[in-house]
Symmetry: C2
Subunit: 138 residues, 2 copies
DNA sequence: TCTTATAAGACTAATCTAGTCCAATAACTT
DNA sequence: AAGTTATTGGACTAGATTAGTCTTATAAGA
């Protein structure tokens, strides 16, 4: 399936929503209702995005979150890495390479690495601004 | 993570192995040992590949499987579809669109569709021959 | 008939996903 | 100061997927 998970999608939708509100804050409830996203889940997602510096919280009444970065500055790779870890089309690629039994004799590590890089590049070069305008960069 | 599953990888490795044996058959055991792939699992994988017409079984002593198609003719998309279903970077894309709560108001279906198509094209235009030569086509 | 294979099905443990629920804390309003 | 609105952080869950295993049946050459 090669799916991006829901946190990534909901996270992006929320960031696009915030961008459209410009400097104003939007509460989790407002975003959840406006975008039909489960509120408790979106709350978790926003916490993660806060910790990564995409948004800034505002406590108390009339509080919520606001964007701290421009959409043109945030790319899809950062978001997916935040919620799904590094893109690795095969488990042995990148960082700790687990325990694939076929590794020693594997004939496809090298092409898988190339394929992986293609996908990484595609994600990296697609900003949220690109997404908002319904296009990918490459 | 965006990972391709093990069946896909093991399946490709097995097909490359068969190709290298040219017209000869190779048994599941031989392939499993030669490639360090769990035998019972590879057996399952080969059954699926037989049902999709990638290989042909030969029963009995000295039996095994042989390739029925050229590596240049098999692309990565077919293999992934065989073992992981259609590529859909978001669950709502393609065929039966499940039940995403955000669907009615979703701001990213359209760009996700474009992104999905990019990945499909990348997979589709990469033949196993390309993989064996350590490159992707696009 | 024996042996070597594939065929097919049921079964499993571990992991990931998409959530929920609850108690705590921060800060604005009145 | 109290009440209200919000974020925070933790634990918890059902269901799906993954990566296997095991067992029995069947095909066919020697
Ligand atoms: S070693 Fe080969 S089969 Fe194993 S995860 Fe890496 S690329 Fe895939
Ligand atoms: S969030 Fe949007 S793109 Fe993702 S599955 Fe739901 S409707 Fe489709």
């Amino acid at each position: 399936m090669l799916r991006v998970n829901k946190k990534i999608e909901y996270g992006i939708i929320a960031l696009l929503y915030l961008a459209q509100k410009e400097e104003q804050t939007a509460s989790v409830r407002e975003m959840a209702v406006s975008c039909s996203i489960p509120e408790a889940l979106l709350s978790k997602i926003m916490q993660t995005m806060k910790s990564k510096g995409f948004v800034q919280p505002v406590y108390g009444n009339q509080g919520g979150y606001k964007l701290t970065r421009s959409l043109t500055d945030i790319n899809l790779l950062e978001i997916t890495q935040t919620f799904q870890g590094p893109i690795q089309v095969a488990e042995c690629l990148s960082s700790e390479n687990h325990k694939c039994p076929a590794k020693a004799l594997c004939t496809i590590i090298s092409p898988m690495t190339v394929l992986n890089q293609k996908i990484v590049t595609l994600f990296e070069s697609t900003s949220l601004e690109n997404l908002a305008n319904r296009k990918t960069a490459i």
